[in-house]
């Protein structure tokens, strides 16, 4: 029996080799997608109505200065060559200067990213902790009231504008009830107490044992994270529900029940482990889309993350910063997306032996 599977494994190529090959394919598609993303940001940067030279030298530059900058920026070269120059700059970490902060865009991005990361991570945690059990329950009790409740909650999540929910949340929980703190990451009184090590205030304040700062950060974080978490929950619960329904219709569940497993025992110990692989993908996707969805939420809550940086730059016609931010969000988004794809293929035993 064991020998038989071994023979089959050899015939199909060694599993370890298959993983390597899959990883190479993963890297290939990652590279290609990144190239596509940079091509798009290059195209946007190249075809905006704003004159890129004027953006650098200003309106009052002399003709000579203008021409010199025009040549220095390589704008006389063919477009494909310009794209290659652009790529080489990106690879060496040169995203250009931000007009708004007059600093390199990359160091701006590094400064703003932790806030977005903190928000999206806590939101995903909320989505997973509530969404998965809710989805499993709804799937197990298909057609009964918990199922309808989860479906309605999910449907509302799919239909609500996140910026509006944020404003209503601020009005109710901050304005009327006073349960949470308002916009921003910290009250002004707590600013600059802890030194920024990771940029994630919850972590930084814990390292220094500043409990007052930690509590204040939580009070600021809970509303935006809760609202983003709701959208994550809606998606995760909906997907978990449909995975669960599919598993519970399989014969092995009936077999487990016949052998005396309780209903919930069959749900959690037999069906649930089988949906875990698919769940990893769903959670990863929702995490990636939260990094993106944070753009509007951050605007509403004045949360100093990537989204706020992008929108602020937008209004100051700071195209380097906008494209740098787009590239950063896009890179994280693509990375997480493809990583989930890879994890799925590695952990799903059916795909592994093929």
């Amino acid at each position: 029996m064991a020998g038989g599977t071994e023979m089959k494994g050899l015939a199909a190529g060694r599993p370890a080799f298959a993983v390597v090959r899959r990883f190479a394919a993963f890297l290939g598609s990652l590279l290609l997608t990144f190239l596509g993303l940079t091509a798009v940001t290059f195209g946007i940067g190249r075809f905006i109505p704003v004159d890129p030279v004027l953006a650098v030298v200003g309106d009052h530059a002399t003709r000579a200065v203008y021409d010199k900058t025009y040549l220095a920026m390589g704008l006389d070269r063919p477009v494909p060559v310009q794209y290659l120059i652009y790529l080489r700059k990106l690879v060496s970490g040169d995203f250009g200067q931000s007009v708004m902060t007059s600093r390199p865009v990359l160091s701006d991005l590094m400064q703003f990213f932790p806030a977005t990361f903190e928000l999206a991570t806590i939101a995903t945690l909320i989505g997973v902790i509530i969404g998965v059990p809710a989805g499993v329950t709804a799937g197990a009790l298909k057609g009964r009231w918990p199922d309808h409740l989860v479906r309605i909650v999910g449907l509302f999540g799919y239909s609500m504008p996140v910026f509006w929910l944020g404003l209503v949340g601020l009005f109710v929980f901050y304005g009327k009830l006073g349960w949470v703190s308002g916009p921003g990451r910290l009250d002004v009184a707590y600013d600059d107490i802890v030194t920024s090590r990771t940029g994630i205030i919850l972590v930084d304040s814990l390292i220094e044992g500043e409990w007052a700062v930690f509590r204040n950060a939580i009070a600021h974080l809970i509303l935006p994270a809760g609202i983003l978490g709701y959208f994550s929950l809606a998606y995760i619960a909906r997907m978990t529900r449909s995975f669960m329904i599919e598993q519970l219709s399989q014969e092995y569940v009936v077999a487990a029940r016949v052998k005396g497993r309780s209903f919930w025992g069959a749900v959690w110990h037999h069906a649930f482990p089988n949906i875990m692989v698919a769940l990893i993908t769903v959670i990863g996707l929702s995490y990636a889309s939260l990094l993106e969805g944070a753009v509007l939420t951050e605007t509403v809550f004045a949360w100093p993350g990537l989204g706020l940086y992008i929108t602020h730059s937008l209004f100051n016609a700071d195209m380097n910063a906008v494209l740098g931010g787009t590239l950063m969000v896009g890179a994280v988004f693509i990375g997480v997306n493809l990583l989930c794809d890879l994890l799925y293929k590695i952990f799903d035993p059916r795909l592994r032996t093929q």
């Binding site: 598609s29 290609l32 997608t33 596509g36 993303l37 798009v40 940001t41 946007i44 940067g45 075809f47 905006i48 109505p49 449907l155 509302f156 799919y158 239909s159 609500m160 504008p161 996140v162 910026f163 509006w164 404003l167 209503v168 601020l170 009005f171 901050y174 304005g175 990636a288 889309s289 990094l291 993106e292 969805g293 753009v295 509007l296 605007t299 509403v300 992008i310 929108t311 937008l314 209004f315 195209m319 906008v322 494209l323 931010g325 787009t326 969000v329 896009g330 988004f333 693509i334 997306n337 493809l338």
Partner: protein
């Protein structure tokens, strides 16, 4: 008379193409109407259409852009049902007129996205080979992009405005349609009736447009209806950031944005247009779920 019409529609042996098509429509309509959720969605969408069509009438001939600075930020009252905004404009009239903007955006995006997706998907699926590989690789690349942020960058580059918002959303929204159309095409292309048409000497273009595209339409329509909510939300998000319709046009996202600074004291300014966005996208979601059950039972 009605009895015989009903029989004629419900016949499982249609004598003509017309009878078959009408019978299918009737069965679909019945399935939608007997499903309370889908019916609610349908009614909301119809209400949106009526409000958009007769906006000036429904707004009671109150101008959505007339300013009355003496009555700015007035709470809801009998004179101003939903109150007034920071320039004293009537929020009820603006919300009603905003339906027009939303409907325009949604219809324009649909008109752009469905043909692009269908063209790319059916061509890839039917022609196969390197065309398929190339087109699907491009589709995958676009599919992996973050939609809102990319639409944001596009809108920023093109400049603010409804037309540019539509282009920005369309550029990021077509890939799923190409995927769906390709999947359908691959199965259809293998069927005997396509082989028969090929033997009769039909050109590829004719096969694509006359035989494959019509069969892909139902999946595309379902996806489009389900996507409408997302499109409305993205458009509202762009409007909220100031990249959609420009003032003084009444657009729901921009209206929410204008109420941002006064949310703690004058809640109605931001809340009511947001509610309109919510109800309309809920309607499209409900209708889309219902349509999926009717048109596309294998994915339900």
């Amino acid at each position: 008379m009605t009895g015989s019409l009903r029989q004629w529609l419900a016949s499982d042996q249609p004598a003509s193409r017309r009878q078959a098509v009408l019978g299918n429509l009737a069965r679909g309509a019945k399935a939608i109407i007997t499903n309370p959720a889908a019916l609610t969605g349908l009614l909301i969408v119809i209400a949106l259409l009526i409000v958009a069509l007769f906006a000036p009438l429904i707004a009671g001939r109150i101008s959505p852009i007339a300013q009355d600075l003496a009555a700015r930020l007035a709470p809801p009252s009998s004179a101003h049902w939903f109150g007034t905004d920071e320039l004293g404009r009537d929020i009820y009239a603006r919300t009603v007129h905003g339906a027009r903007v939303t409907l325009t955006i949604v219809m324009l995006v649909a008109v752009f996205v469905a043909p692009i997706g269908l063209a790319v998907g059916t061509a890839a699926g039917y022609l196969g080979g390197w065309v398929d590989a190339l087109l699907m690789r491009i589709t995958d690349i676009f599919l992996a992009f973050p939609r809102l942020v990319l639409a944001l960058a596009f809108a920023a580059a093109l400049g603010p405005g409804i037309e540019n918002a539509v282009i920005a959303i369309s550029l990021t929204a077509w890939p799923p349609y190409a995927r769906i159309a390709r999947a359908e095409t691959v199965t259809i292309a293998r069927s005997d009736f396509i082989a028969a048409v090929v033997l009769q000497g039909a050109a590829s273009a004719r096969i694509l447009f006359r035989h494959i595209v019509p069969l892909c339409l139902s999946s595309v329509i379902v996806r489009l209806t389900l996507d409408m909510a997302g499109i409305i939300l993205t458009a509202a998000g762009l409007g909220f950031l100031g990249l959609g319709a420009q003032p003084p046009t009444a657009e729901w996202g921009a209206m929410v944005s204008s109420g941002r600074d006064v949310i703690l004291d004058q809640w109605w300014v931001a809340t009511i247009p947001g509610l309109a966005i919510f109800i309309v996208s809920l309607g499209f979601n409900l209708l889309g779920d219902g349509l999926r059950d009717v048109l596309d039972p294998k994915n339900a």
